[in-house]
């Protein structure tokens, strides 16, 4: 059985309510921290744990907390619940099933950073989850875990949930802060980083739901215990949301280091490919990361088994590797048209570009247009090279990483599946559509 930290108890009826959560040991991490730990000691435990940000970028959480400017009296801790990266649906599941776990994590992070008001920014489509969270927050206030002088510690905290309104870009942390201030979600130029100038100009840390939900376990068991789980620099467990052509789509908690092959084929996880079909390709970490063909997702170019870890998935760089990203694991069987799948992604990035930088604004639209014409049988061989060229010019030339995120899927699809693009051009139609 895999190590369970985040999904432990997830099937217990009534877990979303305070009573059940508390009976199962909930809020003991907050009691422990407020009683026996200074804020800096909490940060120290998180540093020791080796926990990396689970929103996609994988930046070490404790290190990010260490950057916060403590000279400024007003500081903020913000939870990124925007979850809009195609293929990613772990936060939605975790927060709706176990809202108090997220709240407990928010209290711990807020205490460590010295925040007095904290916000959970949730995508507007998830209003029903917002209501689950608000109900749980009310319970936490009633039971003295939020509000003035929490459990007599002298520490006070208010926690609020704030809805977005349909914009993937607001998952980018500086766009999220703009949006929380009631503005358009245009990413800010960094530096300054949010740890120095964040919400309302004050030092701010933004973390993903899953990152924050790991904090109670780390506080209860110690950073070292967390660091003992996993492999290499990939410490702990990770939620993987698996979808596409597998027998058992869903959210799985894996110990980092699990072989990809086991994840796809074992009955404990994805349960293999539907209808006994052949695996064609996988997008392993949300739509933004490079797509890999079956042979490269199962084994590295060196022939070693590929593991579900930050390092192993990245092995081979972008030539033959990919990224763990957000853990959105999209599986495609041999009936899938790679061009059409890519077209849906490129349409998405075009739609979601905030429009501030011309390479992203124009490039994403141009990519969508060319892919549409190739998929419809009106493309030329030159179009394929043009796509590679545009992707190269978007990547690295924009304010925020959405530009890269739009470019990588294009570059990798053509790198690994060029013949399929060429076949569309030669046949003047999609070889796979009925």
């Amino acid at each position: 059985m895999a190590k369970q930290i985040l999904l432990n108890n997830i099937e217990v009826p009534g877990l979303a309510g305070f009573e059940v959560y508390r009976r199962l040991g909930g809020y003991s991490a907050v009691e422990k921290a407020l009683k026996n730990f200074t804020p800096d000691q909490v940060t120290e435990e998180v540093k020791k744990s080796g926990l990396k940000g689970r929103g996609g970028a994988g930046f070490p959480a404790g290190m990010k907390w260490g950057f916060i400017d403590k000279k400024n009296e007003t500081r903020y801790f913000v939870c990124n619940y925007d979850e809009s990266e195609p293929g990613t649906f772990k936060d939605r599941f975790l927060g709706q099933m176990n809202p108090h776990l997220l709240i407990e994590g928010m209290i711990l992070g807020s205490y460590a950073l010295g925040a007095r008001s904290s916000y959970i920014y949730i995508r507007g489509e998830l209003f029903y989850v917002l209501k689950i969270l608000e109900k749980a927050i009310d319970e936490a206030y009633l039971n003295g875990f939020l509000g003035e002088n929490i459990k007599g510690s002298g520490y006070s905290l208010d926690l609020y949930v704030h809805p977005g309104a349909g914009a993937y870009i607001c998952g980018e942390e500086t766009a999220l802060l703009e949006s929380l201030e009631g503005k358009r979600g245009n990413p800010r130029i960094k530096p300054p980083f949010p740890a120095i100038v964040g919400l309302y100009g004050c030092p701010t840390v933004v973390n993903n739901v899953e990152t924050i939900a790991a904090l109670p376990w780390i506080m209860n068991n110690g950073g070292e215990a967390y660091a003992a789980i996993g492999i290499g620099n990939s410490k702990g467990t990770k939620l993987i949301s698996a979808c596409g052509h597998i027998n058992k789509p869903g959210v799985y908690e894996i110990e980092l280091g699990l072989p990809v092959e086991e994840f796809i084929y074992s009955d404990e996880y994805c349960g293999g490919i539907r209808n006994g079909n052949k695996l064609k390709a996988v997008v392993a970490g949300g739509s933004s990361v490079p797509i890999l063909p079956a042979h490269l997702i199962l084994k590295t170019a060196k022939g070693e088994p590929r593991l579900m870890s930050y390092e192993s998935l990245a092995e081979g760089g972008f030539e033959t590797g990919t990224m763990l990203g957000s853990g959105g694991f999209i599986v495609m069987d041999d009936t899938t048209c790679i061009v059409k799948n890519l077209l849906t992604f490129s349409r998405f990035y075009h739609h979601e570009s905030c429009g501030q930088c011309s390479p992203c604004r124009e490039g994403t639209g141009w990519i969508e247009k060319i892919l549409t014409r190739i998929e419809n049988g009106q493309g030329t061989m030159k179009d394929i090279d043009l796509l590679v060229n545009i992707a190269r010019h978007v990547e690295g030339n924009t304010i925020c990483p959405l530009g890269d995120a739009a470019a990588w899927p294009v570059a990798s699809a053509i790198r690994h599946f060029r013949e399929e693009f060429e076949e569309h051009v030669k046949l003047q139609r999609c070889p796979l559509s009925k």
């Binding site: 979850e83 029903y128 704030h162 009631g182 869903g250 739509s287």
Partner: protein
């Protein structure tokens, strides 16, 4: 399209909710309440944001009307044109496409006699496509108001439409209530 009465101001109950939301942000930062208040305004205004209601929101939050327009036009959940009573939003991104989203969309187009982005002549239904709803494991997926409908099949999609037609479904209800 039938005439609907659009509102020009909130009732006292809604105003109380709005004031509670404004208090969540620091003094002088009431503009932060803009997205939540626009969600409420849209739900009470037949599912769309008219310039009158946006001007009213500007007054409530003590900001310039342009600050409301530029935000309303940025976010895809806000409709700046009238919509039908029931807005059907079908996810069209990769993972849903892999599991047959296009068939679901085509089914609704055929049954409603409209294309994506259009509203039926009787003003009852609007069909939209949306991007990934964070429910890809249960693809294909659609949303109506705050409700998610997952694991769609053509049969299930059809039954949902039968139900919405029978009950005169209205999708724009206050999301906080």
């Amino acid at each position: 399209m039938e005439d609907k009465n659009n509102i020009t101001a909130f009732n006292t109950g809604t105003l109380a909710l709005v004031n509670r939301i404004i208090k969540r942000y620091p003094q002088g930062r009431q503009k932060s309440a803009l997205l939540p208040v626009l969600h409420i305004a849209q739900s009470e205004n037949n599912g769309w944001l008219s310039s009158e209601i946006m001007d009213y929101v500007a007054t409530l939050l003590d900001i310039q009307p342009i600050e409301v327009y530029e935000v309303a036009s940025f976010y895809s959940m806000f409709n700046l044109q009238p919509v039908g009573n029931c807005v059907i939003e079908v996810c069209q991104t990769g993972p849903c496409w892999l599991k047959g989203a296009e068939e679901i969309i085509a089914h609704y187009e055929a049954r409603l006699g409209i294309k994506v982005g259009e509203t039926t002549a009787d003003g009852r239904f609007t069909l939209k496509t949306v991007e990934c709803l964070a429910a890809c494991g249960n693809a294909p997926v659609l949303q109506v108001g705050t409700e998610y409908h997952e694991h769609l099949t053509l049969q299930k999609a059809g039954q949902l439409l039968d139900k919405w037609q029978a009950e005169n479904k209205i999708s724009h209800t206050n999301p906080y209530l």
